[in-house]
């Protein structure tokens, strides 16, 4: 089974990309602020971020980084953090 002649056809096909809905960070009304001194590296914020906008830095500091280009400010990370290491502050 081979694929042929694709270039000549206009197909309803897409390929993945980050930020398909634009810089969704612009949606934010509240922004999460990380206080690494309170962080116990439980990883719950990373686990529960629906946007996959939190990355872990296993090797060094700070342990988490928040991608503010795409973070929508939902606040789940702040809610699940057991140590209040993330707080929500008004954006802008």
């Amino acid at each position: 089974m081979s694929e042929g002649g694709v270039k000549s056809k206009v197909l309803p096909i897409s390929r993945p990309c980050v930020g398909v809905a634009g810089k969704t960070g612009s949606w934010r009304v509240m922004r999460p602020v990380y206080n690494d001194s309170k962080c116990i590296k439980c990883r719950l914020c990373w686990l529960y971020c629906p946007e996959n906008a939190i990355d872990l830095n296993e090797e060094g500091e700070p342990f988490i980084s928040i991608d503010y280009d795409y973070c929508k400010g939902c606040g789940i990370c702040a809610t699940v953090c057991p140590k209040n290491a993330i707080t929500m502050v008004p954006e802008g």
Binding site: P12, V20, C42, P50, G73, M88
Partner: protein, 297 residues
């Protein structure tokens, strides 16, 4: 083999900057699917929120090969896809990812048909308890008393007991899950993928927009559903039911948190009367009694 946080893969199969609402439980579910099964997944998506979360052509928010299909067709398409992959000798896990409508209503026939035939697919019902993508209209999975745009005074009918219906299809694997308990969901996904035949996972997915709560509380509401006993986490392998660890304490009615704690967080339950709450409490008792009896307890 228990799943631990540390071992979870970091590779993102759901990409940031997608079109989901802030705090979206479907996004959480799609993320956990990727953590569980990675690149073996071929996703078959009937009409619903997930159709839109992908964003606009020519881009897309998923690394999964994603097949958008008509509303009533998901499991039949998935069954055909799965047959093709088997014929071609490719190691794939075909997942039909449908919401309320695509699973329990317009998609009910295709779901039941695939289950009865024991087609080799996983159907995940991402249950946000209404037709959210079209603007919060009531579905068969909307709970009793909930406000929706087609039940302004609260739904009068009960939530369709889909997990029990799927149990009665006698398929190899039926499970309930919740976005509040990702490790449990991931373990269940991996279990399902290791079994040949039809697997059904019903994922409870609290929706901030449709249920009327602050998006920061998605996980909290999901957990309260389990802690009040309103959502029961279990799995059934070849009909043998096990209550999942997060739900086990709540087999004991005295351990369940009062339903009010769950209800008061959600604007959609604002019209509930005291009698309605009693009806819901009884429903919780009945549901627990039924599942425990079926489990042989």
């Amino acid at each position: 083999m228990p799943v631990t946080l540390r071992d979870l893969p970091k590779e993102k199969l759901l990409l940031p900057g997608n079109a989901s609402c802030p705090g979206c439980p479907e996004a959480l579910g799609l993320k956990y699917l990727g953590m569980a099964l990675g690149k073996k997944v071929i996703l078959v998506v009937p009409a619903g929120c997930t159709s839109i979360i992908q964003g606009l052509m020519p881009g897309g928010a998923f690394i999964y090969p994603t097949f958008n299909v008509p509303f009533a067709s998901s499991d039949a398409v998935a069954a055909g896809m799965s047959a093709a992959k088997e014929i071609l000798g490719e190691d794939a896990v075909v997942v039909a990812w449908g919401g309320d409508g695509g699973t329990a209503d317009i998609g009910f026939a295709t779901l039941s048909g695939a289950a009865e035939r024991n087609d080799n697919i996983i159907h995940i019902c991402v249950d946000n308890e209404a037709y959210m993508n079209t603007g919060i209209q009531r579905s068969s999975l909307t709970p009793y008393g909930a406000w929706t745009t087609t039940t302004w005074r609260g739904k009068r009918e009960n939530k369709k007991e889909l997990p029990l219906i799927m149990l009665m299809h006698k398929v190899p694997y039926v499970a309930t899950a919740s976005v509040g308990y990702p490790l449990d969901f991931i373990a269940k996904l991996r279990k399902a993928a290791s079994i040949k035949g039809f697997k059904f996972i019903h994922l409870h997915a609290p929706c901030p927009v449709g249920w009327r709560f602050d998006p920061s509380r998605t996980v909290e509401v999901a957990k309260l559903a389990v802690e009040t006993g309103m959502w029961i986490l279990f799995e059934a392998e070849n009909g043998k039911i096990t209550i999942s660890p997060p739900s086990r304490p709540y087999a004991d009615k005295s351990k369940r948190k009062p339903i009010e704690e769950y209800i008061k967080l959600q604007g959609r339950f604002r019209t509930l009367s005291k009698d309605d709450i009693k009806i819901l409490e009884k429903a919780v008792d009945d549901a627990w009694n039924t599942i425990l009896k079926l489990a042989g307890k």
